[in-house]
Symmetry: C2
Subunit: 432 residues, 2 copies
């Protein structure tokens, strides 16, 4: 008789090579911790659903099933329901995208779109370029397909075009096959920054010249606080961009509905890949969203979300300003996240156990790099906790940071208590 | 200016090698044809949803969103909602499976479970053994991961153990790496047969001896017409089987909810793979099913489906008996499908255009083989059309077959008009 935990895995010799790249993310373990009610979670990226008109949603879905249940509960199209694909065109028009419903592939959340694009383009060893830092969920997908992720330096205005060009040149000289540039241009996860308008055509031009497909991941684009949405990169290039959208942040994530817009031939491959992966996305989820968009003021609902998140962003920035002079951080004008840079020498991951003891959670910066860098950073989310809780969370976090600094001062006097002089310039992988 | 259709794909050099294995299935093109109302479709595998208590389902979901919307519409667990995993244990207990909720991974339909298992185990060139014929959707997944599918001869009682042993021995002698045996033991899609009870432990023993994991795909197990469900292979082996289940046939496919039960270490890898693929399955879909199972007589509903499909099976077998003496076919005692063998020399795929002109559709047998065999066969579904339509469909099909035979008799006199003397013995890949 063997103990469960020590039992050998009889299939350990049978796994595919790609499983070496499938490891539990740092966010995953945190979900368990962050769900305890006494913890102020600045870790998750959950939208604040109490802002939704829940009774109206409930009635929408009830009516849908009662009147169109034979379709809503049946198998559907692999590419996605035609009605929803039409609605998606309206949503994307807000960011200047002109497309045809035939260019849209509906997916099980935009995470599945990330999976499908990677599946269609990446052989083991192919290079994917990504911002530094980059979205942890995308890094997980890329790793599971054995891609080599190479980060490109990013600053307050997003990806730096000159750094992109330089990086591509070096990789090409080394004989690497660069397939994709993965970018979150608006209200970046985790950086909180937005790619400057004038950089967008520059980046597209560089990628076009080097025949690199741009994977534009845009879940937050409609959640800007102070202005109308900027034109998506897809609005500037039809053939050079695969665009990913999502209803998870503008409506609700529990339906798992996202989409991809791709050049014609790529779209065909994405549909085949999706049929292989899931047969078809849920008709019930798709038709629920179509019906909601038809019968409700969805633009008004997005405005409700924007104002809510702006207030919380203000609460977080105000609390950081007054409580954490030792650190620096980004100033997002949309989305869910602030990227915080700790005083020189501090390690966010090493601080996490103490932070949880003090009832506050965050995501350590290393989660957002494929190469182990990012230790001096953390991602703070202001999307889910209410403003008072955000301030309390930052207060607890400031206490943890101060305690870490005191420990450091005791053992290594004279080395800390000042933010990195790099400010909010993010480390590329070439930096320590 | 170039015409859309003739435009070159600018990304044609960029696709991953695996895309060579992603091709449109024969079922896919058929879905468009079969949806025209004048066509009797004996092609699709859609459950007959009018048998569901649609108003009760609508109210269940309405109440769920109104009272638990904050959870139902939010992100959930990558492994699946704990309540649903508990309910799944009750469902599987009907087939003798003892498991723990921690062993269950909820997926976006059991198609996603097929994808995840293949992703976790298959490197390009690895061998997957499968019945002859085998489920077209599984063959598509296997091909997209560049597996080599090797069919094993099957007869009226399912997979033939001696043929399995022989095939494994030959493959091992050729230095092949055999990872999985894929089997649909109950009411097989497309064969309509059920793996004999006494063969189940024999097959498990053979696979265990050769260290091959059994992938038991069981969407139809509870839809037997004349008896209680037989024990699943998973009930005989906890460590040697990954079991796949689905609510698509016993409840409704539009929610896209299936599951896998796997040995502990394999389950951990499946959860990581699923988080990478979709982050998490839909809480709304999962909680809708949980609530439905809690508040409704789901066993009674399955009985309603069983009786409905039994009546349609009888209609189809009766019509075949009286209208198609030239052919042979299987006699399913559950599930959705009859596997029909044409008179020697006829080719089901070649007949399909004429059949569609005559307003009847089926799936050609070649769809169910990875190696191009199966031309003399077709799959007929009795799940969706009502009995009168089934009889009319078989009448039209008989007309098409007779016309084909007449053409054949005219050009090659004396060669046809008798069923294959192999009867319902299915061809293995070694046969012409």
């Amino acid at each position: 008789m063997s103990v469960q935990g020590s039992r050998l895995d009889p299939w350990r010799e049978s796994y595919a090579e790609r499983t070496a790249g499938m490891t539990a993310s740092e966010i995953r373990a945190l979900f368990a911790v962050a769900s305890r009610p006494e913890v102020v979670s600045l870790a998750g990226g959950m939208p604040y659903l109490p802002a939704l008109p829940m009774d109206a949603v409930a009635e929408t879905v009830q009516h849908l099933i009662a009147t169109q249940g034979m379709t809503a509960l049946q198998y559907g199209s692999g590419q996605g329901h035609p009605d929803l694909r039409e609605h998606i065109l309206e949503v994307m028009a807000l960011e200047g995208i002109e497309a045809h419903a035939d260019d849209v592939v509906v997916t099980t959340g935009s995470q599945q779109a990330l999976d499908l694009v990677t599946r269609v383009f990446i052989d083991p060893g192919d290079v994917i370029l990504a911002e530094a830092p980059s979205y942890v969920g995308a890094l997980g997908v890329f790793s599971s397909y054995q891609a080599e992720v190479v980060h490109v330096a990013s600053d307050d205005e997003g990806l730096v075009p000159a750094a992109l060009e330089e990086r591509i040149t070096a990789l090409e000289a080394a004989g690497k096959r660069i397939k994709l540039l993965y970018s979150v241009p608006n209200f970046h996860n985790p950086a909180g920054t937005t790619l400057a308008l004038e950089r967008r055509p520059q980046i597209l031009e560089i990628c076009q010249r080097h025949h690199i497909l741009v994977l534009e991941d845009n879940p937050y684009g409609l959640l800007g606080f102070d202005r109308d949405p900027w034109p998506a990169m897809r609005s500037l290039s039809e053939e050079g961009v695969v665009y990913l959208g999502s209803f998870s942040k503008t409506f609700a994530p529990g339906l798992r509905v996202g989409w991809a817009v791709a050049p014609h031939a790529v779209r065909e491959k994405l549909v085949l890949a999706s049929e292989s992966a899931i047969l078809c996305p849920s008709n019930l989820a798709q038709m629920s969203i179509s019906t909601y968009l038809s019968n409700n003021d969805w633009r008004g609902q997005i405005k409700v979300y924007r104002e809510l998140y702006r207030e919380r962003r203000d609460a977080m920035l105000g609390a950081l300003e007054s409580l954490l002079p030792e650190a620096t951080w980004t100033h997002p004008d949309g989305g869910f996240y602030v990227w915080l840079t700790l005083p020189e020498g501090l390690d966010a991951k090493a601080m996490l156990p103490r932070a949880v003891t003090e009832r506050v959670a965050f995501v350590p910066g290393t989660a957002f790099f494929a190469d182990g860098s990012g230790a001096q950073h953390m991602r703070l989310s202001y999307c889910y906790p209410e403003s008072d809780r955000i301030r309390e969370g930052v207060r607890r976090l400031a206490g943890v940071i101060r305690a870490e600094l005191e420990v450091r001062e005791t053992f290594e006097p004279g080395t800390s208590a000042r933010p990195s002089d790099r400010g909010v310039q993010f480390p590329g992988p070439e930096q320590p």
